[in-house]
Symmetry: D3
Subunit: 294 residues, 6 copies
């Protein structure tokens, strides 16, 4: 199939990376198309299994938007959005928690276990994993920014990394649903990119990988040759200020910056639509996607 | 409040029991009124926290019937019963799993963590904790017993006690939702008493405590003086055969027998309606409820 | 006997204390009536056995005055006292050592072992446990204080806590006779309260308990309502200066102050005439006796 | 002083023995002249200190006859003997215990500690070290052997070798007074040779050394050239039967046989009147005294 | 260079093999062209470094014929051969040892250390690694086989695998010169294939790789399509008997059989002339060369 | 042979020294007559075996001049000397390495192993043990000192003490040939005294022993009574400056100073011609030879 020489070249190139990541923690934000397409989902699970197999400790943080919307519709609950965030009353957050923990999370855990990779589902309440507080939405109105209470939407206050480390040390792959727990035990819906960034920071992970539905960052989105394969944190901040990085890419890049600031080694925004994108990013010299580093 | 002598007597009596259970595993089936009344729920959580505090390793298996029924009603799903068991199609088991894992379990975990007892919610899919297979309902019709497929109702095939032991060893209280996982990753609804019995057996727990809504077993239900405080496994089997133990008590006693057969030290059916019933059963010479032993 | 509610209340109150002392060292000065009455002695041994049982590491330091006096009489040796201390020549200290080590100590060790609590008798010569030097008596004569050499009466110079810690770590209860060893190997008679205080300090014990023949400290000895249940070290010192604490209570309070200064957590002067006074002091919120704390 | 060649020869010869005993347990019965002469006592202590120094774990069992007799006389207690054994009433055994534990033992412990060798005094009550039962005296009267109750004279029923091993493992030299403890906590006077043999057997010691006041065993006591330097257990038994071994030597040889039977490696009866007899026996190829081996 | 898909395919295929060999021992017989060509030597060293890098424990056994011949010529020593083996007098074996240990071995060790792979050179005398005895040459003369003494040519009697395991456990790559040590300390020249086989057997290595100058075994040497990629031990024996395996291949196949018999997992005869043949054999599903298995 | 008293005296004197060195590392420079005379060699090996036996960790660094000269002669290579150092071209250093590693070292290793002392031969290339660089010869010509390149003569740049410590920890005696490895893998001939000093320094050895062919240092070489048994480092430096220490003794004393500066406890220059000089130096109070200390 492949010539012996080609195979040898790829192995000689990959082996140092395999060794480099052995025993290290890699946090993966799993979402988008890679979660919707059954074909891609299968390959992501295969990649995670192989990562675990060669000694990496993967930690998964997943999203779950479409399923929540579906369930809300099923129980006849209309959704209202303010400043891009869903208004989340008590009933909504309860349904979000049920769907994220009791369905999406469960399904990923189940797939990994079927592949022989022992996984455990967690949400932010388990051993106070994600301590959270209310996050107000920002509404830009008549030139002013106003903060609006939209209910049980939260932000991470603290991560109990001990529980994750205990799981990793005893050989399990933690799969985390982004539900936070407030000081009174109340639930909060948390953005999955941010949750992944905070988890990567708390674990001082070797790498944070955000699976997205784009190839990475372009200097000029229309010009394929302007692809940026590596950025420093400082450059990333400048590109946001100057508008090179814009729209939905901003929160993802900010998540990377947060993770780096808290001690994560490297971060990458990669194309989850490409099969085996995780392996290619980790084990080839050129990687794929856009890397943001210190 | 209490005389020094009374206090001393109770302590002298309790200390040997406290020592006896130190470092031991006690599995608690949590359900019934003790789960519905907020007052009782608070005391059960307090008891579990104190048990953990004095060195016992509690493991919780909970039920959740009323909440599932509530949610099914909400999404407009009618329930059908065959042979006393709910017919459980794909949508029903999905909702059961969401409610059990994403709501009931989550809420117990949250309460324990607020009390400073680090708890982790699990269901049968986590690290293949409860491997399950389909269980057919038995329908007695015209003198014959017929087996009927009622969907995703399951029975435990195997328990992965390693994951529980790992949790216990790293200091967490496992809280288990009785959802089983089939060989293809499909979910099964499992009876919580049976699940607790299998977990207690797999862990070779020191004790299995079933919280119920009755005081225990009577030789003659109408005569309070006929209360049975201790039964051997063999006697329990005879009492079922002779009809002394009947109705809803049968599956609970069978769960105790299963646990004993698999290596659990002792089992007790106790009255969850009594405040602090867990502490009284464990730390007083007379205990409460009916004990079934080898 | 007791209502379930009362029992539950006492347990709920006691469990945190039981946990608090688990793994901690508690030094007990054993003397007075609790040593003379066979009835009380039995209960003290029971308490020590239960303490060990629930994970506390008790260390006993005992007195032995009456037995020494008895033996001196037997061999026809008259006792002379100067400044409240017995003049102790070579023959006297030899007899004191034989009685304390070879009789009183032996008898406590024997009782504990019969209760299944592995105890080991020690005196200050074992592994140089209590390094001692001569202590002069203070005689108040015509307004002056004169120091008088009364022979082999000593004070502790240093405690070899390693030997005690080794005993504790290997699971034994050390029972210590207050005989000190001088630099030439000579024996000294040491006051048992002081020896206990020094041992508690050297071990940085959680608690020092002095069993006495009084209820504790009163602000006004004639007025039972003036009982003091807790005192700070500073207050204790003031009360000695102001004469509220007087007579035989002074050396006991000074022993507590010494222990606190050297790192003991808390100290208590308790009534050894009350049955199970050790358990009541340790495992009830109100305790008994007078506590002196930092 | 010595030529380099002589020194080298002695070292080359001794080093393998030093290595051979490193980490091994050697039980020494200490008694007789080596205990009475201050000069010899000093050298025995020096030898024990050096043994400990080069990695041997010595365990001392001592006698104490003359001191007990002295004390009994002091309190005006007459001694009666039946079948060679002292009739030992309650008062006598109490005085024996005080003298052995509180004086003789204390003095050995003190001497070793002054030499920098951490020693701990024990008697049979410490952690139930020597469990004992009554031993009847045998009286030969008109051709018959009658068993006579002579009070608190005992024989060893069981040795708690764990406490000795714990002491050894934590670096202490156990010094044992031969007082046994009966099932009710009562004290028994035990023969020191036998106690040493049982201790050596229980510890499966490498060697048992009995310090005596003779050079060893002679085939013909009058003929110095008939000295026996090594005997097998079987030969020793034959020599007792045939009368070659007689009188006071019999119980010593029987102690050796007991120790060998229970698992001690080798035993030696050596001349405690010779300075440094312990070192010469252990570290020279020829040894001194008579060795009895399996 | 390579497409992402090709790279992903090769990695997905290789990762399980990388994991499979992690922590395992692989013994490599290094000789032939791969030792003579500087280009190939560099690649072999690179492969060994990568193997160590991903967690394999390589053990090298090397030959060295040409260098020995060179040195013998230099000192003017003529070589005589009997039955295919060099007649090896005292001077010859001394020179062989100097060349193998002091030159060839040294050079491999030096190359690996320069690559950052900590290697240690050994010969059979180090900690008695290769205990050897004289091996007689077999001379076929007039139909009879005669055994002839040709001096210091030896065969392995025993391997001290402990020293190798100690090296491996402390992280070093052992590099072994095939010099054996006789019972009197005399040196023997040992065949390197056999030495490698015995080492692989003693270590119960996962794999033995023999680097040769052929592609592997052919059923019919002239027909390239008759290449045998896998053989059972039994088949290998039959092929030798039937002459399919012949000539210089026989001792190599016999070495494989010896290693398998002693507990080596698998063996392979591979083409050392192919670059990176070690990596290709280990980390690709098809491997290269001929594998001989149980 | 010796009187018991003499034997006891020597043992009493030696035991503290034996204990003092137990578990310590002693580096021995082995060379001179003790290496040439078979009789002395046997005794040195016996001493090293005994040292290891009583718990010392010996490390040997050996020389090998005569054998190298012999081999150079054999291959017809003439030697040229500049500034007292042999001009060492590529061929010369190759032969030196073969002789030192493949013959002299091998023979010492073999002798120790035959005595039951597990030894391993090393040279500076093993795990980069002796990192070396070129050392220029100093030629004194017409009042000036000129530095001359004489080829592969080196000096130690760094010692990898980890490999030695690993050997020691796993129970082996390292035997080191003084060949250093340069940054490109090239070999250097290193002076054995200096190599031993650097090894002793890197290991922070308890003692460095240099075996020489003289009795030690004399204040006045002609006057036997002027023998110096102990010198401080400072005195040693002054004696070199003042010419009391001169000639071939200078590099040896300088080696001692180097070792002391780097953390070796003590150093001794001893007479290798005296049988058992190692034992006499270590285990007698007076030692032999001249000690140089901090």
């Amino acid at each position: 199939m492949f010539s012996a020489e080609d195979t040898a070249s790829i192995l000689v190139a990959a082996l140092p990376y395999i060794q480099k990541y052995a025993g290290k923690t890699v946090v993966i934000k799993y979402g988008g198309n890679a979660m919707i397409s059954e074909e891609l989902k299968k390959k992501v699970m295969e990649d995670i299994a192989l990562m675990k197999y060669v000694g990496i400790s993967p930690v998964i943080v997943h999203g779950g938007g479409p399923d929540i919307t579906g369930m809300l519709k099923k129980v006849g609950k209309a959704s209202e959005f303010v400043g891009g965030l869903r208004v989340t009353d008590q009933e909504t957050v309860e349904i979000a928690e049920m769907v994220l923990s009791g369905k999406v999370n469960s399904s990923i855990v189940s797939d990994l276990n079927l592949k022989g990779t022992p996984a455990i589902g967690l949400n932010g309440k388990d051993a106070f994993l994600l301590k959270a507080r209310k996050k107000l939405a920002e509404v830009h109105e008549s030139g002013r920014v106003e903060k609006v209470d939209i209910g049980y939407v939260g932000e991470v206050e603290a991560v109990n990394e001990k529980i994750l480390q205990d799981m990793i040390d005893t050989g399990y792959v933690p799969v985390i649903a982004p539900i936070g727990m407030g000081g009174e035990g109340e639930s909060y819906n948390i953005n999955a990119d941010t949750a992944a960034a905070r988890v990567a920071g708390a674990l001082r992970a070797e790498k944070l990988l955000l699976l997205t539905d784009v190839e990475g960052i372009y200097r000029d989105f229309g010009d394929k040759s302007s692809f940026i394969s590596s950025l420093s944190r400082r450059e990333a901040e400048e590109y946001i200020d100057s508008g090179i990085i814009a729209g939905g890419m901003i929160p993802k890049v900010e998540a990377c910056i947060t993770a780096l600031t808290m001690g994560t080694g490297k971060t990458s925004i990669i194309d989850g639509r490409k099969p085996h994108s995780l392996l290619l990013e980790l084990f080839t010299p050129e990687g794929i996607g856009t890397e943001i580093v210190k």
